[in-house]
Amino acid sequence: MTSEKEHIILQSEGLSIGYFSKKKPQVIASEISFNFSEGILISLVGANGIGKSTLLRTLSGMQKAIGGNVLIHDKQLRSYHPIELATLLSVVLTEAPTSKNLSVLEFVSLGRQPHTNWMGNLSVTDKEKVLRSLTQTDIVDLKHRHCFELSDGQMQRVAIARALAQDTSIILLDEPTTHLDLYHRANILKLLKKLAQDTRKTILFSTHEIDLAIQLSDQMILMTEQGTLIDAPKQLIKNGHFNDLFPADTIFFDSDTGRFTIKN
């Protein structure tokens, strides 16, 4: 990746994440360093409570890092103005929108907010970008439907379309495949893969779909009790790191099939 140094979009140097409780920092994970270039799909995996959401929140600037640096386009994350950051980084959250009464078109158009004037007027370019993101996520037919009428899978596509409409070079997704069946999970992850390739965006998502993530991601962030590893999935398998992911008493990782199997 160092050969593409000029295209590094998202970078972290010795990052430690966690919470400030009673002014004493509670470190959840530390020594996280990576360089992600444009057009790649990165999956973030780890057991429940290991700090995946905290890492995503820290990378999106919603939470302060305890130590180390996060750089976006070679500039410190914390030095960005909120609106400027919103033109570079968008998020897809697990939470449903507060207002279910929004139409799909309204929901996706809200992604244009960082680019519009104080009134929120949509220009011709804004409308084009909204339509393009609806097309890219294949939900043009749904645009006049209300959010309360959508299935979980459709809602997830709408949320991704909103992030695309925000037109940022980085998209962070927090467990975009929860509540979906296997078909729709694979469907969403394939969509992310395609978007990373076609739009050259850097897409980072957290997931519990380790099998699917291994097959689709260019890079993986593996959060374990021992530490955080970042590498290509094949390399991580070769080095046997997936067995560190969960306690060894119930399941083990079969490096031939690339799957977890229940221990008998």
Partner: protein
């Protein structure tokens, strides 16, 4: 945000209906005045009887304008609170804002006795009522906000509102025990709610509060739209949540506090009007919703006032009773028919 259809026709219709209800409101009262003379009086023409001119200019016109200001202001404050608290049941009344305002006024009117004659008289001037009422509702809103920041449970916020209602009732009971009949009556009449008996200077103060509140709502409509996605999404799009929340809280207390000071606590307009509006205006875009809610609020308040003044009779019912009688069934009907209140 892109709104899929144009609402021009609905807006034209609403403006026509508003004009019609405004004229209707002025036409009806204990004294029958022909429409010709009413229009002549408003537009500065020749009126058949001087007393009619007096009734219209000094009594009915300020009352109708007050109804428009109160209706639109309360409805807008309800809309703002529903978006801010992410709760379709939010409104100045349910959240205890009106209770706070009542508390402020109760302390002022009933407590004025303790300060004695001259100072007491000074305290109950028009402006001091506004300030006491706005302060009361502002304090309640701060308390509600403090709870919202700690507890993410919307039920808790509604319970806080109810508790403030109880506290107000208790404080008023204690104060009334120690105050004389005249002050008590003054407070009780204030709490019935009234659009009438407003001087032109009172109407002016009320318009300043309402117009300022509505203007600020328009200015923050972009952030309000972002809040429809939830706080975290709004933050990710560059909205400064704390600043927006503070602006919304101040705006609502100016609107609800100012209005309650002049017209007394008026129930259900803030809660019900945004929901009634959403039956016709299906978008969630605040740039469309704010003017629509404003128009609906004015129209509904004018109609409530027509009902309250019992045309052709000498009696006037408390406006607060009428808005509750109309508002409560509407909310129940919406819940039963739609199964849930969307916002």
């Amino acid at each position: 945000m892109d709104t899929s259809r144009s609402y021009k026709a609905i807006f034209i219709l609403l403006i026509v209906v508003l004009a019609a209800t405004f004229i209707l409101n002025i036409s009806l009262g204990s004294v029958g005045i022909p429409l010709k003379d009413i229009l002549a009086s408003i537009f500065g023409g020749e009126v058949s009887k001087a007393s009619w001119d007096y009734i219209i200019i000094d009594y009915r016109l300020p009352k109708a304008i007050t109804a428009v200001l109160v209706g639109s202001g309360l409805a807008i404050s309800g809309l703002l609170m529903q978006t801010l608290f992410r709760n379709p049941l939010a409104g100045p009344f349910v959240l205890g804002l009106s209770s706070g305002a009542s508390l402020g006024v109760a302390v002022l009117i009933l407590g004025a006795g303790a300060f004695g004659g001259a100072i007491g008289g000074l305290l109950t001037s028009e402006w001091s009522l506004v300030i006491a009422s706005a302060l009361g509702s502002f304090i309640v809103l701060l308390a509600v906000l403090a709870v919202t920041l700690r507890i993410k449970d919307t039920m808790a916020i509604l319970i806080i509102g109810l508790m403030f209602g109880s506290v107000t009732a208790a404080v008023v009971a204690v104060l009334s025990y120690f105050s004389d009949a005249e002050q008590l009556q003054q407070y009780v009449f204030w709490s019935f709610g009234s659009l009438g008996n407003q001087s032109w200077s009172g109407v002016l103060i009320l318009s300043v509060c309402t117009v300022a509140g509505i203007a600020i709502s328009f200015l923050v409509s972009k952030s309000l739209n972002a809040l429809l996605l939830g706080e975290n999404y709004a933050k990710s799009m560059g909205v400064r949540i704390k600043r927006t929340t503070v602006v919304l809280i101040i705006t609502t207390s100016i609107l609800a506090g100012g209005i309650t000071a002049f017209a007394g606590p008026i129930a259900f307009i803030g809660l019900a009007v945004p929901h009634i509006t959403r039956q016709w205006i299906t978008t969630s875009n605040h740039r469309i919703l704010i003017p629509a809610v404003l128009l609906f609020g004015s129209i509904i308040m004018l109609i409530c006032d027509v009902v309250a003044q019992l045309p052709f009779s000498e009696y006037t019912l408390p406006i607060n009773a009428i808005t509750s009688l109309i508002g409560a069934p509407v909310v129940i009907w919406l819940l039963v028919r739609k199964r849930k209140l969307l916002f």
